[in-house]
């Protein structure tokens, strides 16, 4: 065996170029498969994190009927104790209560159906964080006209201001980005523009009786900060709900659909409005991990804490089966792509093996002719192939590791409209790679299997070798 190994090793280095070409084909197979998969998984992860963490949470506690029938009647009794108990569960990072329903909002002659989301202003910071979406800067006609009269502002900046008339921004960076100021313009005029477009805006305090109104809705209702809006709707158990609420702040939601119809208030105010004292419609829970096992564990633990039989915890995939299936479907098509890549890679490896056998046919013939057993020759060839494969797989893994690491810490930043949209939602517009996981080793295992399948061919060839023919070739 040792001899066989020694011979195999020497055989490899007898023809360096051939060895390098063969192991390079394995190397690239592993390298690309690992990086491709890492990107796929990393992107899914990013999507899940973005969507779930900022919308539904990984787990939600709801009334049993709420998912099919999202009415305020299907709410449940809530107290801080439950929330604290859930917070104590391993891996739980945030527990956020919500009370959601619908109503008509009216101000003066304007009326529109709106979605009401009642929050705990403090706890919500860890979840959807409405405070970061408050409108801080707004460009109105007065401002563009004022700038138009100034001589110290270049035409290009004036034009950009006019182009962005009536738009509002929740941060300095957004204003700079969306106005499309050049670096030079930003340096000279951004502070100036900030000062003149800044508006005061407020968030909700804990027991606030006011509301935050989404930007487009506020525009439609012609309601500004300090104005009041009237809400009319149906409350708990069909009672009538009506109230007057002062507007504390205007928030900008990137999705126009939501921006047209969102009112945020505190939970106590909403409970009073709907006549549903002590009740909420959901508790959104975020976790540190998102594997199926972690989710199931946390869900089971939460369910064991809840005493009310009509209230249950549901995972995000149960709450949003469409999104879950989309991700699954996308994952499948990613896997299919990877399968095709493997197919091509396999024939690459197989091709080099085929070439090697053809080249060494005469050599094999000589060996057997001078008395080497075919069995021994097969063993040597197998060891050679295993060594080639191992060199390729290990070097492929080693080479891909820094790439994965680099793009994990410094992910590709998405530019253009897609990137802008994601940033609008408050997400990181990046495409990171996934951290090393089972996928990493699995690519290597799959490539190793392909190499061993490719080894079958030379073994068979040696078995059927006719010495005379081989010597003459």
């Amino acid at each position: 065996m040792r001899d066989n190994f020694k011979i195999a090793w020497r055989n490899l280095w007898r023809n360096r170029r051939r060895t390098i070409i063969t192991s390079a084909s394995v190397f690239f197979a592993v390298f690309f498969a690992v990086i491709m998969r890492s990107y796929q998984l990393g992107t899914y992860d990013q999507v899940i994190t973005n969507l779930i963490e900022s919308f539904s949470g990984y787990i939600q506690v709801q009334h049993i009927e709420y998912q099919d029938n999202p009415l305020i009647d299907n709410s449940f009794e809530y107290d801080e104790v439950l929330s604290e108990k859930i917070s104590d569960i391993d891996r739980v990072t945030s527990v956020t209560p919500h009370l959601e329903s619908f109503a008509l909002a009216s101000s003066g002659p304007q009326t529109r159906g709106v979605a009401i989301v009642a929050i705990d202003p403090e706890k919500e910071r860890n979840f959807t964080d409405p405070e970061s979406k408050l409108v801080r800067y707004r460009i109105n006609k007065e401002i563009t006209e004022k700038y138009d009269r100034r001589d110290d502002i270049p035409e290009s900046v004036k034009e950009k201001l006019k182009k962005n008339l009536d738009r509002s921004y929740s941060s300095r960076a957004r204003l700079e980005l969306e106005m499309g100021l050049t670096r030079e313009e930003s340096r000279l005029y951004l502070d100036d523009i900030m000062r003149s477009t800044a508006i005061t805006n407020g968030y909700l305090s804990e027991h606030d009786d006011g509301v935050l109104v989404s930007d487009r809705l506020a525009g439609y209702l012609k309601a500004g900060i300090g104005d009041t809006v009237i809400l009319i709707g149906q409350g708990y158990h069909g009672s009538s709900a009506a109230g007057i609420f002062p507007v504390r702040g205007i928030i900008k939601i990137p999705s126009p659909d939501i921006d047209n119809r969102l009112i945020i208030m505190t939970i106590p105010a909403a409970q009073k409005f709907f006549g549903s004292e002590g009740r909420i419609t959901s508790l959104a829970i975020n976790l540190t991990g998102k594997s199926k096992r972690i989710l199931k564990n946390a869900k089971d633990q939460i369910n064991s804490i809840i005493e009310d039989g009509n209230t249950v915890a549901k995972t995000w995939s149960e709450l949003n089966p469409v999104l879950y299936q989309q991700i699954q479907g996308d994952n499948q098509s990613g896997a299919a792509m990877l399968g095709m890549l493997y197919f091509i890679i396999f024939f690459g490896i197989f091709g080099t093996v085929l070439m090697m056998i053809a080249e060494r046919k005469r050599e094999f013939g000589v060996m057997i002719a001078i008395g080497m057993q075919k069995k021994k020759l097969k063993g040597i060839i197998t060891i050679e192939m295993a060594l080639l494969g191992a060199i390729g797989v290990i070097s492929g893994m080693i080479a891909s590791a820094p790439v994965i690491l680099y793009f994990y810490y410094f992910p590709v930043v998405l530019a253009g409209d897609l990137g802008k949209m994601m940033e609008d939602y408050g997400w990181d517009a990046v495409m990171p790679t996934a951290w090393f996981g089972p996928y990493f080793y699995w690519q290597a295992v799959i490539v190793a299997i392909m190499v061993s399948v490719a080894t079958l061919y030379p073994r068979r060839k040696i078995g059927k070798l006719k010495e005379i023919e081989a010597l003459r070739s």
């Binding site: 009237i230 009506a242 007057i244």
Partner: protein
């Protein structure tokens, strides 16, 4: 020979249709009599409690109501506390709502007509558009049945083609002695039962015998029910048309 067959046919036609015509007339008469009794006199004042029953909860709304003819009505909610002070005004075919907590007068739009009034099984349309059980239907005697120990006429009423009624047909049971509607089944145009209304606890109030408890059971929502109990009723109160005004909605007690 030919002639005699024709004569027989004609006479048979008369023989068959004759009593039917007589019955139809009497069916209309019965309904008209019951309707007049039910609607009361020219004006009225009543105190009622409406209990909305759902599979998992129930709640009671109390209200006072003034009416003048078919066209004018004013209703003031007196309980529960969070809804107290709300008023509803019906003037001909318009309905208004005054809500003191938001200081707002709202005209109920057509889109809200099919919604339940105060969350009950009565729709706003039920309250607003009382179509005439006499003029909008073809009546037909369907026999006699005993309801709550009282002998009743069972009358099948099919809606007239040009009537603006959401029902297809109704079956009503009218007490033979007092001409009271004791039960009604309302069907949609496809002939399936939508709701059953029944009157019970017949008492004499302000000199008139009326059912004081009216139950409405929607057919397709098991466990749902609305019960209205009349606590006090007065007929022919001195009330004028100007009582039913938007100003009065805000001040009526």
């Amino acid at each position: 020979m030919k002639k005699s067959i024709l004569t027989v046919q004609i006479s048979a036609l008369f023989f068959l249709s004759g009593p039917a015509v007589a019955q139809q007339l009497s069916a209309i008469e019965i309904v008209r009599k019951a309707d007049e009794k039910f609607k009361g006199e020219k004006s009225g004042y009543s105190v009622m409690a409406m209990t909305i029953i759902r599979p998992s909860w129930q709640r009671t709304v109390e209200f006072r109501s003034w009416t003048l003819g078919d066209d004018y009505a004013l209703t003031l909610i007196t309980a529960p506390a969070r809804e107290k002070g709300q008023t509803f005004l019906k003037r001909e075919n318009e309905m208004w709502n005054w809500n003191p907590s938001i200081n707002r007068l709202i005209k109920l739009p057509p889109s809200m007509m099919s919604q339940g009034w105060m969350g009950s099984d009565y729709t706003n349309d039920d309250i607003l558009r009382e179509s005439s059980v006499v003029n909008d239907y073809h009546h037909e005697m369907a026999g006699e049945e005993i309801i709550d120990g009282k002998m009743c006429y069972k009358i099948r009423m099919v809606v007239k083609e040009d009537a603006k009624v959401i029902w297809g047909h109704q079956v009503r049971w009218i007490d033979k002695n007092d001409y009271l509607f004791l039960k009604a089944e309302l069907y949609d145009e496809d002939g399936s039962l939508v709701r059953t209304e029944s009157g019970s606890e017949i008492r004499t109030m302000d000199g008139r015998t009326i059912p004081t408890r009216i139950e409405l059971v929607p057919a397709e929502e098991p466990g749902n029910k609305t019960v209205v109990v009349i606590k006090e009723i007065k007929f022919n109160i001195p009330v004028q048309e100007n009582f039913f005004s938007q100003q009065n909605m805000k001040t009526v007690k």
